[in-house]
Assembly symmetry: C2
Homo-oligomer: 345 residues x 2
Amino acid sequence: MDAMLVLPARSDLKPAAQTDADAFARLSGLVSKDMAEVNELIISRMNSSVPMIPAVASHLIKSGGKRLRPVITLAAARLCGYEGTNHLKLAAAVEFIHTATLLHDDVVDASVLRRGQDSANVVWGNQASVLVGDFLFSRSFNLMVEIGDIKTLDILSTASSIIAEGEVMQLTTNTDIEASGNTYLEIVKAKTAALFAAASRSGGVVAKCSRNQELALETFGENFGIAFQLTDDALDYNGQQFELGKTLGDDFREGKITLPVILAYEKGNNEERAFWRRVIEDVEQNENDFAQAISLLKKHDTLEETLCRAREFGDTARIALRKLPKNAYRDALDDVIDFCIERAY
Amino acid sequence: MDAMLVLPARSDLKPAAQTDADAFARLSGLVSKDMAEVNELIISRMNSSVPMIPAVASHLIKSGGKRLRPVITLAAARLCGYEGTNHLKLAAAVEFIHTATLLHDDVVDASVLRRGQDSANVVWGNQASVLVGDFLFSRSFNLMVEIGDIKTLDILSTASSIIAEGEVMQLTTNTDIEASGNTYLEIVKAKTAALFAAASRSGGVVAKCSRNQELALETFGENFGIAFQLTDDALDYNGQQFELGKTLGDDFREGKITLPVILAYEKGNNEERAFWRRVIEDVEQNENDFAQAISLLKKHDTLEETLCRAREFGDTARIALRKLPKNAYRDALDDVIDFCIERAY
């Protein structure tokens, strides 16, 4: 078992009172000029003489994702004092990889909704989603080639392999509700956190940061990515709609096995386990099942347990940040860790 | 319209008598030691701690494809006097890109057979084919990163974008039997020939060939790739099983719009056009339709016309080869051009 997955002791590095809901807006604000240029790059580089490509790509890219990953890349580069322009192409490449994986994910999960609208596979078909995903993935490498730095190519191509491995791992365990929490964390680490880690680390690399800073940025990104995903898992069941991200109950309706469910299954009696197998493994759901699911998660306190784990990974991310120069970018990233977790309360 | 697609005048650069069926075996023989190492690389690099990945990948990779593209990469490098080892990783990367596109193609086309056996999407499902394709694609970039040459990364990432564009172009025209021959050639150029061109050119680039040689290798690869595909199109209807490649009538049964069909539709009367629309556009086929299709292709001589065009592209490929050093590799590539076309007779 990877050392990272041994849960660190809960430390109160930062009391909750210091967090605030505007942390993401503040981080975005710090890199807003860069981000405007990244958005222009994204629009121009997803273009093609084949009209279906920008149509499918822009459906997703313009659908109001929060651009969290490219923002991290930009902030990491600026944090390390970067004053060039390569971080812009790098951030666009990171967003293209993310968008490509979303397009392929929706095919794999047979999703019908993404960010509150019909997913691309519903509008244009699975074929278009597969191929436009391939196109964006190739374009992300075109952008990195233009930067001309082999190290960023290494970081992001390695992350891409790991993401695909994580997806396949999920595919082979996604009907197995008895999967352990540790297996689930392995999947999250590969499927979600690898891109956060690469987005963060490669931002430092274009800024020519030191080796230690590079590794600190990677540790920050990876642990922040896990914390982000676990919080997202809890939010699916937390009983109130929220601003950032998906709609309440999406994971449940798709029969996704997430940490709150795994923990509730572990702690459940035979009757409860039969319930989880029916609604999650077999995705046979009745009208009242979502309410029943929430009540079982509350009974065993697994939303709180999931968020507690998220906070622990968040703390590890925060400790890593301390190895980096203290400036406005570092402070904003630090605040965003809290924000991403505390939004679940 | 791209200049390349203006058909060159038919020149008898090489009389058919000089061709022979062993040309591919001879080319393979010249690079067999290299290819053995490439095969080892392929096996080791498609490995993963997630067991489904090597299972799916090896299903296709071990299924007896002829490895034409990596053989071209190896031969191009050797042709230019290369004595290093980077061409091995490059050839493996080229084969991974090819395999990834086949896996995704089978999902897009909803194919059930590939190289005479159940296609991966039938055995493991579309999801596995999409994700393992992504994995192999990422691994191909990992291999190129290890070579550390930004120019080969440029060539192959650009080719990958073009391949995806060609696939989407085909997706948007693939139920339109009135697509012109030129539109079809654009698709072939992007979908098939771009990888042949990149495989050939990048082989020269690792050998540090001159700019002119690099472009000659690209022209060779592109035109050879088109000739290869057009011959393949004709072979689907040529009335005899053959050794290399697919089974007779595969394209027909999948309703694929290929050049012989486009030309027969153009020349057909109303009744014939209704036939083609039914069997190809609507894929509503009866027992005798394949025989009827062949008889219409013969009536309008469109198999011969397709092969004639293939020969013309083959000639352009041959002229490009003459700009390269004359040696055993060049001679073998030259012979393979004929072989790939003459196998249809």
